[in-house]
Symmetry: C2
Subunit: 383 residues, 2 copies
């Protein structure tokens, strides 16, 4: 095994040392005053990050719990859901809805492409029983950014329809201003742009969505958001919270605030552009050229090469962990992350390791073309 | 605020430094080989701790998630639940069952007393529609140990009835041998005897309970145990796991193994006896004298004293955090913990701080009687 390991995956993402050490402090009791202060700081910081005046609720669990919470609190028996399905996480929306007896209309889009908002409008026009549109701000399995702002425009005009946005691999990496864009349900997890270990999820609802919660009739207990809202208004949680992650969250939010939201977004954009430029310079085509993700770049492998081989070689020979494709695109694509605690030299690490790997595998390309292309863009900013 | 703080509550309990530091190591990706090794070690350790040959599943969430998982996987529409309700956590069983449409027969027992198993048998005899008995091995809100082994004997003889044991504040502190006792569902959380921060829960099912899961028809997704069992058999999880807590769990299990399960149980028993002896020597009567908990001692306050005052004074003047009573016994009782990472001098800290506090509050008692009584028992063993 290579001496030094580099975790460059789109979640869990690397956790900064100062956050790990903050979380290693002695445990605080969640019903005591000291935790109340931590909780309030974290809650205010989350509102800043979600760009909302609504409370952002913290749940002990992973992103999927927040997705389930969205379904069981905002839908009721007999409702129909419109799910944008263009990857594994779109499929998850569909599976959760079905598990709770909600009929699903699937808007399938080809893996690697974003949904055309006109199809959402047409589907809603065609079926008055649809009460919610579920989508991903960023479908990380394919590296696609969906036009969730345009979907929000469409649902905003319809009283009986809300939009629900899974922003697990998106929020805090690019601009998703909840109140301004009109997202009705927006959720994320701790292990992505927030630079924390996995185990905490965050969810906020618009006024329109909270009205729906009043009429909610699907069975729920652990994911009951009304109970959480009441408890969290008093800086408590309905059930034992993930205390250490809440402490780490304060530290993460301080880091992001000191960088500034605009700069955080610009950094992710720059790292994404550098990755795309480098990979294409090495002859790897973009898997999602029309709607590339700002947080993870998905790439076709060079002709004739199983991308699983690239991923394995990177890990085994160079200690660099990236991710391959899943399901339909397994062996066909690979993905380079730039999400969370990533700086320019993490991208150069991925790119240089990719150059060395392609060389080892006998692929023909211009040596150094990747790092040169990346450096030109990374030099635009220092962060 | 006092310079040095002592967290002596029954959960979150103190976390050993070596566990905190283990969790502060660089994050591992949950789909990679290194995590598989960690996962397998943790899973095997949990089987040792649960004393079962069944898989013990890890969930990202707090104990309440595991309680919900027990209900939605082991019950089906039309089933009736028999809930032992003698405190806040018994009430939680009732509330979860109701939230999922399961009719509940409550076996109420007076707070501070344990359930008489004969009442369980009589209730089952009287209602053939009851398919499960829900109880707590330790009701931490009242400091009562329920006779869950006797309940398991009763359900074992009935094909259509399982027993479900919430052992959140119990498992790993006193003997609950799952297979030998015949518990059908046994669950706990990370922040108690396992000495971890909150955020992970553990649940195991007997063969009899797994048969029930095959017919389960309540809606579930995040808490779907069949899906988890399948994933965890391959050292993966259905959704992103609490990675750092899994790392900490390995460390905790190593510590417990090196102490030895028998010694761990003996330590908790000794600390509990010392606490009871000390508190009664100071004139505080046991709230649960007939079935005192091995993990938390609940006590009436001295006549005329609001126990909320005792708890506050301990915290504000001496930096010692213990817990008061909740709901019906708020202001009437207080609770001293001895659960998880507790040694003899943690008990002496609680006892000495209690002596000083009672003195400050003008209560009459023999000075030193508490520490003398505690020392006599604590000297029996060194751990």
């Amino acid at each position: 095994m290579p001496f030094k390991q580099y975790l460059l995956t789109p979640g869990p993402t690397p956790v900064p040392e100062q956050i790990m050490l903050a979380m290693a402090r002695p445990i605080v009791h969640h019903r005591m005053a000291a935790f109340g202060e931590i909780f309030r700081e974290a809650a205010a910081g989350l509102q800043w990050m979600f760009q909302t005046s609504q409370p952002v609720l913290m749940l002990a669990g992973s992103g999927t719990l927040a997705m389930e919470a969205a379904v069981v609190n905002a839908m009721k028996r007999g409702d129909k859901a419109l799910c944008v399905v263009g990857g594994k996480f779109g499929e998850r929306w569909r599976n959760i809805c079905k598990a709770f007896g909600i009929e699903v209309v699937s808007l399938d889009c080809e893996w690697g492409t974003a949904i055309d908002p006109a199809r959402v409008a047409a589907a809603l026009d065609g079926d008055a029983k649809i009460t919610a549109v579920f989508s991903q701000a960023n479908e990380s399995s394919t590296g696609v950014r969906h036009p969730v702002e345009a979907i929000a425009e469409i649902t905003r005009a319809r009283d009986g329809v809300i939009n629900v946005v899974d922003a697990v691999s998106a929020l805090g990496a690019f601009d998703l201003p909840m109140d301004r864009a009109g997202f009705d349900v927006l959720l994320t997890g701790s292990q992505k742009a927030l630079m924390l270990p996995p185990g905490q999820a965050y969810i906020a609802l618009s006024e329109k969505a909270w009205h729906r919660v009043e009429k909610a009739d699907l069975p729920r207990f652990y994911a009951d958001l009304k109970r959480e809202r009441k408890a969290q208004a008093n800086a408590e949680t309905a059930y034992t919270p993930a205390v250490t992650l809440t402490v780490g969250l304060c530290e993460a939010l301080r880091m992001l605030k000191s960088e500034g939201l605009e700069n955080v977004f610009a950094r992710h954009d720059r790292l994404a552009r550098a990755t795309r430029a480098a990979a294409t310079a090495l002859g790897c085509q973009l898997f999602a050229p029309t709607a590339p993700s700002p947080t993870v770049t998905s790439l076709w492998g060079p002709a004739g090469i199983d991308t699983g081989k690239i991923v394995k070689h990177l890990a085994n020979r160079y200690g660099v962990s990236i991710t391959g494709g899943q399901d339909a695109v397994k062996g066909k694509i690979f993905r380079i992350a730039h999400l969370g605690y990533f700086g320019p030299f993490d991208i150069l690490t991925s790119v240089a390791a990719l150059e060395m790997t392609l060389g080892d595998l006998g692929v023909k390309f211009e040596r150094g073309a990747g790092t040169v292309a990346a450096e030109a863009i990374l030099a635009e900013g220092v962060a």
